[in-house]
Amino acid sequence: MAEAAQADSVDPIHQFAINDIVTFGEIGGVKIAFTNSALFMVIVVALIAAFLLLTTSGRGLVPSRLQSMAEISYEFVANMLRESAGTEGMRFFPFVFSLFMFVLFANLIGMVPYFFTVTSHIIITFAMAMTVFLTVIIYGFWRNGLGFLKLFVPQGVPGVLLPLIVAIEVLSFLSRPISLSVRLFANMLAGHITLKVFAGFVISLSAFGAAGFLGAVIPLALTVALTALEFLVAFLQAYVFAILTCMYLNDAIHPSH
């Protein structure tokens, strides 16, 4: 992001720095502050709420263009949930819809120059992944009791191999929050760094006079192409996060393999 403005500092990591806006003092040695990350989370939530409230305020039977945008996002998530977790999964619709919209809006807001990308910090994606993970575990045990453990015991495995298979299944289950959070975080982080580095090339090259100016055309074109790719990635990662959440919730509802 921010192609032209970083002539003074072409530090590709600088955009991820967390700054305090308001500090509220300390609790147990941990500083409590309202940071730029928190500010952008508030902005994201406010934007989602405003988008959904304003676009659906007309309540037209025949939706206007804006209203149909809200309806499309509803149907997109609802279909995704029904396809991967069945109609029973629809009780998790508010959860999955909130996650999807939050990730999508956070990713897209991050594409605006100078804006902070909330999802480029692993602690935030990990917190969301752990929420999904714990929801699956708690709901799975609450609904199926110990039958939830069938998830780790595939049918038709000879008794000798069973301890090994169960260990592998448990490890595979434990790796879910890691892969879910790292995927989103790494995509956003790498994408924004790449953009910044290529945009930085434009500035460094143009310092070399006319030949540099001509050479700078290549990284500039790449920056434009990468920006388009990043918009695709922003949507795709929100989609992937949501659909994997649906699949994990499906395991909580139907724990047998």
Binding site: L171, S179, R183, N250
Partner: protein, 128 residues
């Protein structure tokens, strides 16, 4: 066009009143809803594959991260066990191997899941 108009002109006097008109109306409503259903099904069939088709890019990233995550978790558990029980390096070796196996399992499973979603988009993996 002309045929339609002639048909329209002929229907009202015949179906103006009585149970005949109701039956005619019911028949026409029925055929309308049937054709609407058919159109909807056609529409869904056309829309569903496209939704999963464009995700090839995400597929690669997804499989790679599934694989790596399992190995990382295996290594972390092994390392932690070694720290606690002082069995260096056996816990780490064992759990790394288990993590590798779990990674392969993850990749196979998610590839299989994606394949089933792609081939039968309207049923979904309700029982697997």
């Amino acid at each position: 066009m002309e045929n339609d108009r002639r048909a329209d002109g002929r229907v009202p006097p015949a179906a103006g009143s009585g149970p005949k008109a109701d039956a005619d109306l019911a028949r026409r409503l029925d055929s309308l809803s049937r054709s609407l259903d058919a159109e909807q099904r056609e529409h869904e069939a056309a829309a569903a594959p496209r939704r999963t088709d464009t995700r090839g890019f995400s597929l690669g990233i997804r499989l790679a991260s599934e694989f790596v995550a399992a190995i990382v978790v295996g290594a972390a558990i092994g390392w932690g066990l070694d720290k606690l029980a002082g069995t260096t390096p056996w816990g780490m070796i064992g759990f790394l191997l288990l993590g590798f196996a779990a990674g392969v399992l993850n990749v196979m499973r998610s590839a299989e899941k994606m394949a089933t979603i792609e081939t039968k988009p309207d049923t979904g993996p309700d029982e697997d």
